[in-house]
Symmetry: C2
Subunit: 272 residues, 2 copies
């Protein structure tokens, strides 16, 4: 089988990466996609770099063993911490993360160059967003804040209401009450787009909000084109899901992220 007919591997610590899958599916309808969510060990956001790297390599190894043509790391924590180790382990495969595309999107959207980034503790600690933004735009002023309660809120389906606004305000008001305030906010975690309405309420209408989903899909399209391994157009791609914990919960929680029901028939439980 030639590489263009192989599936794309897309993986995440859980269901957050489904926001990226949604964008990839929209842009690249002909591609077959394998999605792995390591739900048994989520969240990765407060784990040490060593642990995140070990788990990232385990996820990738499982998908590579199924024969895939590229790796898409649909998780900010894994992208921020594990990308160099992944590229070193799989030099022959295109490896695409979500941090670089998100940073590029922020640099295009910001007028003033004052960019705020919210992400998990691990992502912020590693400084990957600030570094990537400064590569595109060396004069940028980047302020990063971790929002550890956002992932559990989203996982529990709490997207709005006074409690969620209180938590969002706790994290965001200090970021945006400085003068001059940032004019762009990067949602540096794939869970955060589900809180976008609440975040908008807290920070007001002025700042633009960017996430990595659409730009990561575009980066993937470009990488497949460059390598000459895009699927033939006209066909309809399939999606298969793998989870390391309960398939039923994956399908239930995942549907909110994917924006459509996840069919339980397409979900397999695996052990890493």
């Amino acid at each position: 089988m030639s590489d263009q007919n192989l599936p794309i591997a897309l993986f995440d610590s859980g269901v957050g990466g489904l926001t990226v899958l949604k964008a990839v599916r929209r842009l690249l309808p002909a591609e077959d996609i394998l999605y792995l969510g390591d739900t048994a060990r989520l969240p990765y956001g407060a784990k040490s770099p060593e642990t995140v790297i070990r788990y990232t390599l385990q996820c990738a190894a499982r998908l590579v063993a199924m024969k895939v043509k590229c790796l898409v790391v649909a998780c900010n924590t894994m992208s921020a911490v594990g990308l160099p180790a992944l590229r070193a382990s799989y030099p022959a495969l295109p490896v695409i993360g979500v941090v670089e595309p998100g940073a590029a999107a922020a640099c295009r959207a910001s007028v003033s160059g004052r960019i705020a980034v919210i992400a998990t503790e691990s992502t912020v600690r590693g400084g990957a967003y600030a570094a990537a933004i400064r590569r595109f735009r060396p004069d940028a002023e980047v302020r990063s804040v971790s929002c550890p309660l956002f992932v559990p809120l989203v996982e529990e389906g709490w997207f709005d209401g006074p409690v969620v606004e209180g938590i969002a305000s706790h994290y965001l008001t200090p970021l945006f009450s400085s003068s001059p305030a940032p004019d762009c906010l990067v949602l540096g975690c794939t869970h955060y787009p589900l809180l976008q309405n609440t975040i908008r309420k807290v920070i007001g209408d002025a700042p633009c909000i960017v996430d990595s989903a659409d730009t990561t899909a575009a980066a993937l399209e470009a990488a497949l084109g460059k390598a000459g391994i895009a699927a033939p157009s006209g066909r309809v791609g399939t999606t298969r899901f793998f989870t390391t914990d309960d398939a039923l919960r994956f399908a239930r929680v995942g549907s909110a992220f994917l924006g459509r029901p996840v069919s339980l028939d397409a979900v397999a439980e695996i052990d890493l």
Copy 2:
């Protein structure tokens, strides 16, 4: 070495079990204790029973390999789901969980027999508290509710304030606004004692609040006595900590649970 000189193994998905360790240390100062927190894979509270059982057995196996005289499961989720598998795997060792002692404490404290239990999703789903309470008191009316955001709140050090009260009220007000209301609340997760002040504010002064720490320590003391393997009194026991993720974070977050600083020298990182 005779069994009485071997250490007690106490383990948890993370740092919550340190509230149990604190009670055990107070009651049994002569015992050596090995504490394992599987922080790399926490929280267990939303994982499937199969995954919780697999992880529970892995934690126990590692500690048993170090030679221990009994197993204390200082985690409600592991106790509620994994105890039968543990007892089957280690028939020669006393195995003590936190659910039975907590249930017994509630039955002693409640006058009316109307008992509310708050715990993680996995613990509530398994029904272990309700079953244990009814074994002690068949006429009890048990109402159980899961509070998925309490663990992340405590892990982040949010113990009080309007946001925490809002979340606590969301979970607890429906439980206690029924008439007649429960007269006893079981904190069925080792993280929850750190929210006790906020919980008290929300439910008022009337209901008693019980947790498993002190009664588990008493159950352990009884089991050691029965087996004739209590450490000789007069000596001063040591405590060693093992964590599957970053030792520094374990020591930092753990100190709030233990009520005293966790010395980094006593913490070793291991892989399961």
